[in-house]
């Protein structure tokens, strides 16, 4: 017999996960579909369900000394509408699905799903987001790039809950974000490209780019980014950069589009992000 629990504190929730074999459930916008909700039929879960949405201590976005701390139960709408949140992340989550879905879906759910097409992920990689994984034994902090190991795969242990997302302070005023989908709303990404930069008097102080839905996990390469730092924007060899990134992007064919389209389009978007720097 499957049971459901809806604790109101993190401590209670952690006591439940310590017993093992539960499905963590926040907004449920993916879980309900994955477990076969349809007309007249309740979705089928084969483990107990632990609802996290009533834990009010995880529903806040707070400025800290080092940046921003986002509770795991904040909805995508909460993030989209909070002006403390870096614009690149607000833009990305604002293009996920549609308002009613964003009112329930959470950022932590988008992370833990670890879909290659998770639209919040490129922005979180660019921002060097760190995740707090809590358990009854304590907590550990990991960078998002170590957390996601493959499509649908993370290092979250059976007795852990992703409790907070930490965004270090950054000073990166230039941004770029393009999501390519079949339509503007309610479409999963064919691919996405996100960029952040700081250019002062024609010199690149910082430059970053991340690609979504073109590889098993988000593609970001700090070594390649370093090549541009300190350069004059007029000296950037766009073709050479595109060629280097071309080697790093390994998309697949699927029902949404082809590998070739993903590869070509993401590189064209990279070129336009590099071109945009010249106008800063």
């Amino acid at each position: 017999m499957v049971s459901v629990y809806r604790p109101t504190t993190l401590t209670e929730a952690l006591d439940h996960v310590a017993l093992g074999n539960v499905t963590l459930f926040s907004g449920g916008t993916d879980l309900m579909v994955q477990h076969g909700v349809r007309s007249g039929i309740a979705p089928q879960f084969d483990t107990d369900v632990l609802f996290l949405d009533a834990i009010s201590e995880l529903s806040h976005i707070e400025a800290t000394q080092d940046g921003l701390c986002i509770g795991s139960e904040c909805s995508l709408s909460d993030i989209e509408s909070d002006d403390q949140v870096p614009e690149i992340l607000r833009l990305s989550v604002g293009q996920i699905a549609a308002p009613a879905l964003r009112n329930r879906a959470t950022l932590s759910g988008n992370i833990c799903n670890a879909s290659p097409a998770g639209d919040s992920l490129p922005a979180l990689y660019l921002l060097d987001a760190r995740l707090i994984l809590a358990s009854a034994q304590g907590r550990r902090e990991v960078p998002i790039s170590d957390f996601i190991t493959g499509p649908g795969k993370t290092i979250l242990k059976a007795d852990e809950i992703l409790s907070h997302i930490l965004l270090p302070k950054v000073d990166l005023p230039q941004l770029f974000y393009r999501k390519v989908g079949t339509r503007a709303a309610n479409a999963l990404s064919k691919l996405s490209v996100a960029g952040l930069a700081k250019v002062v008097e024609g010199k690149v102080v910082d430059w970053r780019v991340a690609f979504g839905a073109v590889s098993p996990t988000v593609v970001r390469c700090k070594e390649l980014e370093q090549l541009l730092i300190g350069k004059n924007v007029a000296e950037i060899n766009i073709e050479a950069m595109v060629e280097q990134y071309s080697e790093m992007i390994h998309p697949i064919d699927d029902q949404r589009t082809t590998a070739k389209y993903r590869h070509q389009t993401s590189l064209k978007l990279l070129a336009s992000w590099l071109e945009a720097l010249r106008d800063v």
């Binding site: 017999m1 909700v37 879960f45 369900v49």
Partner: protein, 165 residues
């Protein structure tokens, strides 16, 4: 086929259209199923059943949600507003009349969800731009109107109900 796993029923108490409801249900069944089958409130429609079409839009603690994807266990203690409740209010009537005036109702299947989406939009933003209107209803599919008349309805509701929002 996976074997069916039984879930024990739970009692869920919530406020539906300003009236308290207490019901014994399967905890993972959707709010939509509960409304339509257990409580016989059938204004809220089922379209896709997976969060894509918006026909089942209702307000959950004042926020627009898809009732098809909300397990009833999460509704414990919440306030739910559906078209049955909204149409009793002046604001609800304002949106409904605007949709009728703009001829934004054809087959009518999307209309209950559309009224809720327009209401949620105007509650948050009393004077939305066309882009804001289109964004506000972007999760509500209509296969009849082509949306132009629904966008007009939002403008009419914003103007005629200027003192309401």
């Amino acid at each position: 086929m996976a074997s069916k796993v039984e879930t024990s029923n739970i009692t869920v108490e919530f406020v539906l259209n300003h009236r308290e409801v207490s019901i014994e249900v399967e905890p993972m069944q959707s709010l939509l199923h509960t409304l339509r089958v257990d409580l016989i409130n059938t204004a809220t429609k089922e379209g896709c059943g997976e969060g894509e079409c918006g026909a089942c839009s209702v307000l959950f603690n004042g926020k627009l949600v898809n009732a098809c994807m909300l397990p009833i266990a999460q509704v414990q203690g919440a306030e739910i507003l559906t078209l049955e409740g909204l149409r009793e209010s002046e604001k609800g009537q304002c949106v409904i009349n605007a949709l009728l005036e703009a001829k934004g109702v054809q087959c009518g299947f999307c209309s209950p969800g559309m009224v809720l989406a327009l209401y949620a939009l105007l509650e948050a933003n009393s004077d939305p731009s066309e882009e804001e209107i289109r964004r506000g209803i972007s999760g509500n599919l209509c296969r009849c109107t082509g949306y132009g008349m629904i966008v007009d309805a939002a403008r009419i509701a914003a103007q005629k109900g200027a003192q309401l929002w």
